[in-house]
């Protein structure tokens, strides 16, 4: 039984892992030094740490996106904008405080979490109470959100010039791993603990699989969907916090632009259905790292920046075709035919009865 469960988990992760292996092979063909890690100023640098570093916001956002997709059967396209608003609040607080200490940073972070909860509640109300499709509901924040962030800032790009946020964005002296990677790991552990200790996974999955059945069983779907949007709000606050500290300044026009596309793709590559139901956070995390790896691979292959989008699109289309249910069913059928009909028929020469049946399937 346990073996079976493990097998099903692995088959879930088959797609993202195989893509990752493919990308690693391509990278190794390009240059064998792909895995080399060097120490610069007491911190690790190299391709792998760079991928972990670059994907940290994407990983956090795709965790929230997985939950939203599972519960509400749709995607939130306002996550980048929401992260911009929350980080604007953070920057506003820190700059207003004058002296920057760990406490002000923490206070700003908590305030940005509150802002994230507010944006999450805005989308969540529309989706859960007014039953608007999540994509349309988040379209509203998507259109107006960056202007709100700009108004909170008051100017184009306020600069966070202090030592603490610089350390959060890059490396704390004495710690060999970049801080965003540590923060991401901590966030993943917290999410894992929450999912292990609470009923959240069960409730979210049951709402996503059949909303009315979940309601009849005593789960309030509105509450659960609203809750996933609140969690997404916190995720955007954390991602915005990391992004703004990485950049060292707040750019309300370009911060985390188009990240919603990558987050949705991470969810899809992670083997999750985009129409809700069962989900795998592990898959989404691997998917997010895979996308970052893909971006960096395309850069490493010295493809023209303009062509990167084309390559990415073609890559996604091929991936989706492979993962599509129709192609999978076809492959399974062909495989079975090879096994039962032609294969056995040819080798063991089973006569008469089997062969016509196998031919009939054509």
């Amino acid at each position: 039984m346990k073996m079976l469960k493990m097998k099903s988990n692995l088959s879930h992760l088959f797609l993202p892992l195989s893509v990752m292996v493919l990308l690693i092979i391509i990278n190794l063909i390009k240059g064998a030094d792909y895995f080399t890690i060097t120490v610069v100023n007491g911190a690790l640098y190299g391709n792998i740490p760079n991928i972990l570093f670059g994907a940290s916001e994407l990983v956090i956002l795709s965790i929230g996106m997985t939950l939203i997709t599972a519960a509400s059967q749709g995607q939130d396209i306002s996550i980048g904008v929401s992260a911009t608003i929350t980080s604007a609040v953070f920057v506003w607080f820190v700059l207003q405080a004058g002296e920057v200490t760990v406490l002000t940073i923490l206070g700003g972070f908590l305030l940005s979490c509150a802002a994230g909860l507010a944006t999450g509640a805005f989308n969540g109300t529309l989706v859960s109470i007014f039953k608007v499709q999540p994509m349309v509901a988040s379209l509203i924040l998507f259109t107006g959100g960056r202007s709100i962030a700009f108004m909170i800032d008051g100017k184009l790009s306020p600069i966070l010039a202090n030592e603490i946020s610089n350390q959060i964005g890059t490396v704390i002296p004495g710690v060999p791993i970049q801080t965003p990677i540590i923060l991401t790991a901590v966030f993943i552990i917290i999410v894992a603990l929450v999912l292990k200790t609470t009923n959240l996974r069960l409730y979210v999955e049951s709402v996503g699989i059949n909303r009315s059945a979940a309601r009849l069983n005593g789960i309030n779907p509105k509450k659960i969907i609203f809750l996933t949007f609140l969690i997404m709000g916190v995720c955007t606050a954390v991602a915005g916090f990391i992004a703004v500290n990485k950049a060292g300044r707040h750019d309300s026009v370009n911060l985390l632009k188009l990240i919603m596309m990558d987050a949705i793709l991470a969810v899809a590559i992670g083997g999750n259905s985009l129409i809700g139901g069962k989900f795998s956070i592990t898959g989404s995390i691997i998917g997010a790292y895979t996308i970052e790896m893909l971006n960096r691979t395309l850069l490493r292959l010295e493809i023209e920046p303009a062509m990167i989008k084309v390559f990415k699109a073609v890559f996604i289309i091929i991936l989706m075709v492979i993962a599509s249910p129709v192609v999978r069913a076809f492959a399974k059928k062909t495989l079975e035919k090879v096994r039962s009909g032609a294969f056995i028929g040819n080798i063991f020469k089973i006569s008469g009865a089997v062969k016509p049946a196998a031919e009939k399937e054509d």
Binding site: F130, F150, V326
Partner: protein
């Protein structure tokens, strides 16, 4: 039984028509409001025509998108496809080989190619429309920037003549301050809009394909059980949408006369908003194609009003977001009221249109 059905059909508005009527009423109210606040500009016929003249591509895209949305899908690649078409046409027209006919052909070919590819993947391989059209968006944007990075201004004399061509309506116009009569002008793009609107609205209303699209969008399982070829229907909605995006691209370059990387970027979001304001439900199955231009015009008038009021550009985006919110909530309230059985919105006998008093209160 048949007679009962006939009575029902006469006395009860369909969801599509109800939402369309609400959209139309809102449009008229908005226009009256615009006239009251800015009488000098909005009283002119030219202002009204300019809304069409300058935004014909958006209306065309909204038409195609509405069909996809009625069929229960979504297409977010249309803006990028439209931009790709403008750039491809500009490159072709500026090269020695190109002609206007060739550019039209190229525009239609690009549009149909995207429609066929996305439609096939979505309908027959059953992949999520959002993901496929998202990669279509990436693909079109990438091809656009690979094709040419800098803006191209088309200088061919025959194309410039087409670009500057105006149809003058001599009997309709306004007098300016000096008392000189200025007739209204419309661009050829408006003719394309009107022809497409009539064609597509007739297709959706009277053809078997149109009815199939409504059935599939309403409930694809029951549509399948009724013997409708669901996959084929969905496939053709995307092909039509791609085609309209291609046409929109040509109309775009016919209006502006230049290929640019930023052409029509973000148009997909505007088109989705217009379709929703025009009374098309994203869940599918509900919508009237005549609502598409009305929704677009409502959105444009709102934007014009905000601009004319001299509001800071940051507030513009916020206000249009809030208005979109209001429209969505309104639609949601109307639809949930319709779902409740104790409230039936019966047409008053003295007029075959109108609303139940309780709904009017909610408005």
């Amino acid at each position: 039984m048949a007679s009962l059905k006939a009575i029902k059909a006469k006395t009860r508005l369909s969801n599509s028509n109800l939402l369309f009527l609400i959209a139309a009423v809102i449009f008229v109210l908005m226009y009256i409001f615009a006239i009251i606040t800015f009488p000098r500009s909005f009283m002119q016929f030219q202002t009204f025509f300019d809304l069409f003249n300058l935004n014909a591509p958006l209306i065309i895209m909204t038409l195609g998108l509405s069909i996809v949305m009625i069929g229960g899908g979504i297409d977010i690649s249309i803006g990028a496809v439209c931009g790709l078409v403008t750039m491809a046409c500009a490159v072709l027209l500026e090269s020695q080989a190109g002609s206007i006919g060739g550019a039209v052909f190229l525009a239609l070919a690009i549009g149909i190619a995207f429609g066929l590819l996305q439609g096939y993947l979505i309908a027959y391989l059953e992949i999520q429309p959002f993901i496929i059209t998202l990669s279509g968006l990436f693909l079109a944007q990438g091809l656009l920037t690979t094709l040419h990075k800098d803006p191209i201004n088309v200088t061919r004399p025959d194309f410039v003549a087409l670009r500057d061509f105006d149809m003058v309506i001599s009997w309709l116009g306004t007098r300016n301050r000096l008392g000189v009569f200025i007739p209204s002008e419309i661009k050829p793009g408006v003719i394309v809009v009107v022809v497409l609107l009539l064609l597509l609205a007739a297709l959706m209303k009277w053809s078997r394909f149109g009815r199939n699209v409504y059935a599939v969008g309403g409930n694809s399982h029951s549509a399948m059980m009724l013997g409708i070829n669901v996959k084929k229907t969905i496939f053709f909605t995307y092909v039509i949408c791609g085609l309209t995006a291609g046409i929109a691209g040509f109309v775009y370059i016919m209006t502006t006369g230049a290929g640019n990387v930023g052409n029509a970027s973000g148009a997909e979001m505007k088109a989705i908003a217009s379709a929703i304001i025009g009374g098309t439900l994203l869940n599918g199955g509900v919508g009237n194609l005549l609502g598409a231009p009305i929704g677009t015009l409502t959105l444009l008038i709102i934007n014009e009003l905000i601009r004319a009021a001299g509001v800071q550009s940051n507030y513009q985006a916020i206000i249009s977001g809030l208005l979109l919110y209001l429209f969505i909530v309104l639609q949601s309230v109307v639809m949930s009221l319709r779902d409740r059985k104790n409230i039936t919105m019966v047409l008053p006998s003295w007029l075959k249109s109108g609303f139940h008093p309780r709904v009017r209160q909610r408005e």
